[in-house]
Subunit: 139 residues, 2 copies
């Protein structure tokens, strides 16, 4: 089940709180799932004493993945054909992130109707952490 072009118009938007109060455990879970065990995401002692950050922080790809969940909730399974993001600011433990997609344009390609979406993910201070674009097939 996906979106239909008839239900949508340019400027329509959809948003979701994709994580509330992100935990260090969730960041470590992502390390395990992705295989990216860089200590900046899990080793508090290393990251504060050696790398010089205030604390561990999330993988950019975790923010991208959580934002992607909002996207697939919006457009439906197997509909996303393109997804591209800029990593704008760090995501820290305790952050609450809201991901938003806005309909930017419709186009036809190879007999299919595609919708182009503009994406932003913001933290609890209304600061962008990720911006991007996505394309999905619609009915």
């Amino acid at each position: 089940m996906g979106l239909s072009a008839e239900e949508l118009k340019v400027g329509d938007s959809y948003s979701e709180v994709v994580v509330e109060d992100l935990t260090r455990t969730q960041i470590v879970q992502y390390a395990g799932a992705s295989g990216d065990y860089n200590p900046v995401h899990s080793d508090e002692k290393f990251v504060t004493e050696v790398a010089g950050y205030p604390t561990v922080f999330a993988h950019g790809m975790l923010t991208m993945g959580m934002t992607g969940r909002m996207l697939t909730n919006y457009v439906g399974d197997g509909r996303l054909t393109y997804y591209g993001v800029r990593f704008v600011n760090q995501v820290w433990p305790g952050d609450t992130l809201t991901a938003r997609a806005e309909v930017a344009a419709f186009r036809e390609e190879d007999g299919e109707t595609l919708v182009d979406l503009t994406i932003t993910t913001t933290n609890q201070d209304e600061k962008f952490v990720l911006t991007g674009n996505a394309t999905a097939r619609v009915d």
Copy 2:
């Protein structure tokens, strides 16, 4: 530690086997980490009897995350500024994926040197599962 523009030239490439013999468990681990529990990724009975697929398959974002690990291994931590992909083919349990980045161009922006990379991820049958682009800061 990141790449230096002096060490690189257009056409240089880097590749990694990012997963060997992907397991259903790894797909479920990703579901837990991302919060995307869509049954097409975990419920064999649903996916074969209702959704009509031969078996469960990986989240597109898991392939994107694993390919992203190759990217950060190549360019260094905190260097990736843009990452965009097309989901070209499904990824199934048992797949072995090789992700590859090729230097496409260099440019200057806001006093920083950026490298544009072309990305492909292929399965054991040399079939593309993901194609894309990324940009990273270099020294």
